[in-house]
């Protein structure tokens, strides 16, 4: 699969590994891929992000990601669903943090656990992004997988990263519009929701 990745897409994958290492996570996660995407300049993915994001976009995005991480990697939609069951997620987080320390619910673990320098595996979500990027590129009949396909894959996954991006106006539809013009329909995917439904 990786032989079809462009230089930019590879740089995002490598950047994600670096971001994961920087925060001492055990695995490379989707969130690290998003941070790596934000680091890029002059690529198709970064073009989409800068076209859609407003000033202070990156800082705001990082803040939201950090907040979700603190909630155990649960999105706001997750928190809402839980509150429907009478479960107050923020209350749980604050009680657990009170007893066990700040940021203790963050997924993937933090702080030197001896993995520094060792090869960091990709977590399930990040793997899913790679697979989806390939699928999106195929559906669009793009021969290569660029960083824009990684961005599209993240928006389609519907995870925390997608939710945070959507809060900043970056969705599958808006990215496709900026990159390819017209509606959010994937080439040859038949209809506006073609790729979205396949994903």
């Amino acid at each position: 699969m990786f032989e079809r990745f462009t230089k930019d897409a590879r740089a995002v994958v490598e950047g994600a590994v670096t971001h994961s290492g920087r925060v001492g996570a055990r695995t490379v996660e989707e969130e690290h891929m998003l941070l790596a995407l934000l680091d890029r300049e002059g690529t198709r993915g970064s073009f989409a992000l800068t076209s859609l994001g407003e000033t202070g976009f990156r800082e705001s995005l990082e803040r939201d990601l950090a907040e979700a991480r603190r909630r155990g990697g649960l999105s706001r939609a997750d928190a809402d669903a839980l509150s429907g069951l009478g479960i107050d997620l923020s209350e749980i987080v604050s009680r657990v943090e009170e007893a066990h320390g700040e940021g203790v619910l963050e997924p993937g673990g933090r702080g030197g656990d001896g993995r520094r320098g060792r090869r960091r595996p990709f977590g399930q979500e990040a793997k899913d992004v790679l697979v989806r990027a390939l699928r999106i590129a195929t559906a669009r009949r793009d021969r290569h997988i660029g960083d824009e396909h990684l961005l599209l894959a993240i928006t389609l996954r519907g995870g925390v990263a997608a939710e945070v991006l959507a809060d900043h106006g970056v969705t599958y539809e808006s990215v496709t519009r900026v990159l390819y013009g017209g509606t959010g329909a994937g080439a040859g995917a038949g209809g506006e929701n073609g790729v979205a439904e396949a994903g």
Partner: protein
């Protein structure tokens, strides 16, 4: 009238998407909570056997999941 509104809202709660999302969120939260508690117990010198007994699972299961850390 309020009762009708309440009923309408509750009917919305029967939307499987919301229910399933809550289950999935709960499962992920549970994983994090378990990790926190197991770590805490280990730090306080609990054996894998003792942790497993409290969690109601086998010693091997706990050790396999958290032993490497």
């Amino acid at each position: 009238m309020t009762e009708a509104t309440d009923l309408a809202e509750r009917a919305g709660d029967r939307d499987p998407r919301i229910g399933l999302r809550a289950v999935s969120a709960l499962r992920r939260l549970l994983e994090q909570l378990e990790a926190v508690q197991v770590r805490s117990a280990r730090n306080q010198g609990w054996s894998w056997q003792e942790i497993a007994a409290e969690l109601g699972v086998s010693r091997q299961a706990v050790h396999k999941k958290y032993g490497r850390q």
